[in-house]
Amino acid sequence: MVEEITDFEVLEIALRELAIEKGLFTAEDHRQYTEFAEAMGPTPASRLVAKAWIDPAFKKRALEDPIAASLEVGINWLNPTGFGTPSDFTALHILEDTPTLHHVVTCTLCSCYPRPILGNSPEWYRTPNYRRRIVRTPRQVLAEFGLFLSPEIEVRVEDSNSKHRFLVLPMRPDGTEGWSEEQLAAIVTRDCMIGVALPKPGVTTNAVLPVHHASEPITNNSTEK
């Protein structure tokens, strides 16, 4: 816990209070969307991919009607308002990779992303740097993520917009024969479903996060018994 009130924490509260007082939105709106943001994450999408890998009938349904298939992993795209969020239209496409075709997703205009099923987009996905370059030099950008594709694999970049959201269905990797849906879901990371990484046995995170070490760590020396 950061035991210091920061300027940005204060700014967020003050800006929100004034916006509500000005009638730009209601406190109820804000509460509803904040709860929705708190609940979002990539887990349902990982489950959808894992389920598609082991259940051909589900995979067929997922490719034909991704919104309906999302319900089978607990995601209703009509939440939280009954008609979706204001910026997430209920239009998902699942892009199936093959041995000769690899998909990667971007949004050149802003940062459209399948939030209801994949959670909030990572910071790099929002940056103009990624959005401009992935459409021009996709292999180079993928290489910067550590993904090197052989020349015979076609790279297809899909550009999201307000009415089309995309999720990559990567190929199931070798070495996962006999795995359960849960085991498979663990290796389907967010980056695999954007298309900047491939699932690999043993890899369950997008990247190793830096660990912040406390400058003045708490000790138990003064604890009374």
């Binding site: 920061t6 940005f8 929100r16 804000h30 204001p86 910026s87």
Partner: protein
């Protein structure tokens, strides 16, 4: 689409002051040994953006994001994400005179006093 005025060249002293003070999350997290990748106010900021998008009249979604891109690359290039997202949103609302800079300054002082009275 209606052409919106370019407000990215306007300077907002309050926000520039916050940038100078530099209380950004990665620095504060390191200071206190916290491992959360984003600050605790991030989901509330997301909620605010969605709530604004619901009505969209004062700041359409695409305009908001386009200005965030421009401001993040120029005026607020020093700020990491999501501080850059928050400050860009404040900039867009102040520059359009939807939110008054002085009113925001005063409200920030009130909010800080309120929060500090509980510590």
């Amino acid at each position: 689409m209606v052409k919106t005025p370019d407000v990215t060249n306007i300077r907002v002293k309050l926000l520039e002051h916050l940038v100078e003070r530099g209380q950004v999350w990665n620095r504060m997290a390191e200071k206190y040994g916290v491992t959360n990748p984003v600050p605790p106010w991030k989901s509330s900021l997301d909620g605010m953006c969605d709530a604004l998008d619901k009505y969209g009249a004062v700041l359409p979604t695409v305009t908001r994001r386009e200005e965030e891109d421009n401001l993040t690359e120029r005026q607020y290039a020093e700020l990491p994400f999501p501080e850059s997202q928050l400050v860009s949103l404040a900039h867009s609302l102040i520059a359009r005179k939807i939110i008054d800079e002085n009113a925001l300054t005063n409200r920030m002082a009130e909010v800080r006093a309120r929060l500090e009275s509980c510590t």
